[in-house]
C-alpha cells in the first residue's frame, strides 16, 4: 500500500481525472450515457432485478474520484454505477455486471447493486442502507493501526442519516479519530419519501456537531466544489485530525429505482435542478476557461456516447458466467 499521495500511481482511468479537466468532462458524459443506456437496456428486457440510476449526481462521482488517490478506498451504495466509473472501472465491466455477464466487475454474481473493483479502491457496494459506513470505519482503523496513510471514503444517501449505523459510525470515527470521510449525497429523497417528511432538519451536515466533527455543506452539482471539499477532508484525515462529514446537495433526475416514475415530486422541481445540471455547468466552465470550445465539447459527447454504446455491445455479447462460478469463492481454504 502506498503511504503518500505523491507515490500513488493507480489505474490510468482513475489518475487521469486529477490531471485533466477534459477527462473529467468526458467521464461525466460517460456516467450519464451509461445510465441512460441502462434505462433502455431495461426496456429492451435485458436487465433483471433492480437498478438505481445517478443521473444528475455525476459531479459528486467525479469530484470525489479526482480528489482521492486510488489507494484511498471507497464504500458506496447501490446507486453506485457512476461512482464505479468515476473511480476507474470500465464501462464494459459495469454494463457486464448489470447484465449478469462473465465480464462484469463481480463476474456477474453481484448485479447492479454489487459493483466492486479492488484495483480502483471500490469495495463491494452494498444494497443495505447505511451498511458501508461502519465498514469504512474499519478500513480507516486498519490504515491507522498499520500507519498506511490511506483514507477511507464512504458515500451514502440522505436516507442513511436516519439509520443507526450512520450515528454509530460517526461516533466511532470521532472518538478514535479515524481517517475517514463521510460523503452524504443529499438528493432530497429517501427512496420515495421527501426528506422533509423523514428528517426534521434541512442541512444534514448539522448532524456532525453531535460528534464534535467538522462538516461542510457542498454544492454537489459543481465538480470543482466537490473536489475541493473532498480534498480538504482528505487532508484533515491524512494529517491525523480525524473524520469529516460532507453534505453534497444534489438531485437524482430519475426515480429511486427503475420501477419508480417519481410522480411524488413537486411540479417544477426537476426542471429547477436541471437549470444547474452538473455536466452543463462544468462544460460552461471549461469553455469559458478556453480548455475546450463548443465544437470540441460536442465532439467529445458524440465520441463518449459511441464508446459507451460499444461497451454495452461488448457486454451484451459477453459470455454468461460458467455454472461453476456459483460455487466459487463462498469460502476459502482452511489449511
Amino acid at each position: 500500500m502506498n503511504t503518500s499521495m505523491e507515490t500513488v500511481a493507480g489505474p490510468p482511468r482513475r489518475t487521469v481525472l486529477a490531471a485533466s479537466r477534459v477527462a473529467v468532462f468526458e467521464r461525466m458524459l460517460e456516467i450519464r450515457a451509461l445510465e441512460q443506456r441502462i434505462q433502455t437496456l431495461y426496456t429492451e428486457g435485458l436487465v433483471r432485478g433492480s437498478t438505481h440510476l445517478c443521473i444528475g449526481q455525476e459531479a459528486v462521482c467525479t469530484g470525489l474520484a479526482a480528489a482521492a488517490p486510488a489507494s484511498d478506498r471507497v464504500t458506496c451504495t447501490y446507486r453506485g454505477h457512476g461512482m464505479a466509473l468515476a473511480l476507474g472501472t470500465s464501462p464494459a465491466a459495469v454494463f457486464g455486471e448489470i447484465l449478469g455477464r462473465a465480464n462484469g466487475c463481480a463476474g456477474g454474481v453481484g448485479g447492479s447493486m454489487h459493483l466492486v473493483d479492488v484495483e480502483t479502491g471500490l469495495m463491494p457496494t452494498s444494497a443495505i442502507v447505511g451498511a458501508g459506513l461502519p465498514i469504512a470505519c474499519g478500513l480507516a482503523l486498519s490504515s491507522k493501526l498499520s500507519r498506511a496513510g490511506d483514507v477511507a471514503l464512504t458515500v451514502f444517501g440522505d436516507g442513511s442519516t436516519n439509520i443507526g449505523a450512520f450515528h454509530e459510525s460517526l461516533n466511532l470515527a470521532a472518538i478514535w479519530k479515524l481517517p475517514v470521510v463521510f460523503v452524504c449525497e443529499n438528493n432530497l429523497y429517501g427512496e420515495y419519501t421527501r426528506i422533509n417528511l423523514s428528517t426534521p432538519i434541512e442541512d444534514l451536515a448539522e448532524r456532525a456537531s453531535s460528534y464534535a466533527m467538522p462538516s461542510e455543506i457542498v454544492d454537489g452539482q459543481d465538480h470543482d466544489e466537490v473536489c475541493a471539499a473532498v480534498g480538504r477532508a482528505l487532508d484533515r484525515a491524512r494529517s491525523g485530525e480525524g473524520p469529516t462529514l460532507l453534505e453534497m446537495k444534489t438531485y437524482r433526475y430519475s426515480g429511486h429505482s427503475r420501477s419508480d416514475p417519481a410522480t411524488y415530486r413537486p411540479e417544477g422541481e426537476l426542471d429547477a435542478w436541471r437549470q444547474r445540471d452538473p455536466i452543463a455547468l462544468f462544460r460552461g466552465r471549461l469553455v469559458a476557461a478556453g480548455d475546450l470550445d463548443d465544437a470540441a465539447a460536442d465532439a467529445a459527447e458524440a465520441r463518449v456516447t459511441e464508446e459507451v454504446e460499444a461497451a454495452a455491445a461488448e457486454a451484451i455479447a459477453a459470455d454468461w458466467p460458467a455454472p461453476e462460478e456459483m460455487f466459487r469463492h463462498v469460502e476459502g481454504s482452511t489449511t
Binding site: 466492486v116 452494498s126 461502519p134 470505519c137 474499519g138 486498519s142 443507526g164 466459487r328
Partner: protein, 338 residues
C-alpha cells in the same frame, strides 16, 4: 497437563494468537480496561497495548462493521459480543456484509473475522440474555459457527477460528466459563479442525450427538446408565461433521440428538435428515430429538430449571426409548400443553 477454566483457556488462545500474529486485534464492550464482563480478556490490554485490545462504545453495528472493514484490509479482528443476543442489532454486518464479501469480490477481499460471545441459558439472565442463537447463524453461506463445550475445545476452536480465512462465530456457553478441566493444550497451526467433531465418549448402544454445554449433560447421563453410548461433540454446527455422525450411527444403529436451543430450525433436524437419507433401513429404532420447549428462556429458577435438558432427563428419555416407547418430554407432563 494443566487445570484451566474455560474462560482462561479462551484467554490463552487469544493471547497465543496475538503473540503469533500482530494483525490479530480484539475489540468489544469493556474488554480492555475492565478485562471483559466475564473476565475472558483479562490482562490482554496490559500485555498487547491499547491499539490491539480496544474498548468500544455500546455500538454493536458500529464496531462489528468496523471489524468487517478492518478484516477486509489485512487485520484479523476478534470481536467480543458481551451477550450473543446483542448481535441482533448488528446482524446485517455479519450475515449480509461479512458473509458475502468473498463471494461478491470473487475472492479478492476476505473477512477473517471472529465473533465470539457469551451465550446460552442456565444462569437466570432472562430471555434477552440467554439465547444460544446457533440457529440464527447456521443458515448463512459464507459463515462458520461453533460452540464451545469445555476448556480444551475452547482453546483449540478459538485458535482455529482466528486462523480461518472467513468469518467465524464462536459461541461460549456462559455457564461453562468458570468450569475447570484438566487440559493438554493442543498445537494449532491452521484452521483445518474447523468443522470437525470430537468423540467425547464411546459406547455401543446408541449415538448421542450434541454440542456446547449439553456435552457435559450427555457425559453425566452416561454415569449410572443401563446403556452405553458414543457421545459426539459436534463443536462446529456449520460446517458440521456429517461423516463422524454417520460412522458412529452405522455402528450403534440408534441416534439421539441433544440440543440447547428449541427444536425449530435447530441443527438436530439436519442431523436426523442426514441419517434418515443416508442410513435408511439401518436404524433399530426411531431417532430421538431432545431439547428444551419452543418458548423464550424463562427467568424464574423454577422454570429455567424445568426448561433445560439435564442428565437425569436425558437418561430417562433414552431408557424409555430403549424400551420401545415414545418418551414424553419432561417439560410437558399431563395437564401442561406444549
Amino acid at each position: 497437563m494443566e487445570r484451566l477454566r474455560v474462560r482462561e483457556a479462551i484467554n490463552r488462545a487469544l493471547a497465543d494468537e496475538m503473540e503469533a500474529d500482530p494483525k490479530v486485534i480484539c475489540l468489544g464492550e469493556d474488554i480492555a480496561a475492565a478485562g471483559g464482563a466475564f473476565k475472558v480478556t483479562e490482562g490482554l490490554q496490559e500485555r498487547f497495548g491499547p491499539e490491539r485490545v480496544m474498548d468500544t462504545p455500546i455500538s454493536e453495528t458500529g464496531f462489528l462493521g468496523a471489524a468487517v472493514g478492518a478484516a477486509m484490509t489485512g487485520m484479523r479482528p476478534v470481536v467480543e459480543m458481551m451477550f450473543i443476543d446483542f448481535t441482533g442489532v448488528a446482524l446485517d454486518q455479519l450475515v449480509t456484509e461479512a458473509a458475502n464479501t468473498r463471494y461478491l469480490s470473487r475472492g479478492k477481499l476476505t473477512v477473517p473475522l471472529v465473533l465470539r460471545g457469551s451465550a446460552g441459558a442456565g444462569m437466570g439472565f432472562g430471555c434477552q440474555h440467554s439465547g444460544l442463537l446457533d440457529h440464527w447463524f447456521r443458515g448463512t453461506p459464507g459463515l462458520k459457527v461453533g460452540v464451545v463445550s469445555g476448556a480444551a475445545a475452547a482453546y483449540e476452536m478459538h485458535r482455529a477460528a482466528i486462523r480461518d480465512p472467513d468469518p467465524v462465530v464462536v459461541l461460549e456457553p456462559r455457564i461453562l466459563y468458570t468450569r475447570r478441566e484438566e487440559v493438554d493444550l493442543p498445537v494449532v497451526t491452521d484452521s483445518s479442525s474447523v468443522g470437525r467433531a470430537v468423540t467425547a465418549a464411546t459406547g455401543d448402544d446408541l449415538t448421542i450427538v450434541t454440542a456446547g454445554q449439553m456435552v457435559g449433560v450427555a457425559l453425566e447421563a452416561l454415569a449410572g446408565a443401563s446403556w452405553s453410548a458414543d457421545v459426539i461433540d459436534l463443536r462446529w454446527l456449520q460446517p458440521w461433521d456429517v461423516e463422524a455422525v454417520l460412522a458412529s450411527v452405522r455402528r450403534t444403529s440408534r441416534l439421539v440428538t441433544l440440543e440447547e436451543t428449541p427444536p425449530d430450525a435447530g441443527w438436530g433436524g439436519d442431523v436426523l435428515a442426514a441419517v434418515a437419507t443416508q442410513l435408511h433401513g439401518q436404524l433399530e429404532a426411531p431417532s430421538l430429538r431432545i431439547g428444551p420447549p419452543p418458548v423464550p428462556v424463562p427467568f424464574s429458577g423454577a422454570l429455567e430449571e424445568r426448561y433445560l435438558p439435564t442428565a437425569d432427563r436425558l437418561r430417562e428419555q433414552i431408557e424409555v426409548s430403549l424400551r420401545g416407547a415414545p418418551p414424553t418430554n419432561w417439560w410437558a407432563p399431563e395437564g401442561v400443553s406444549a
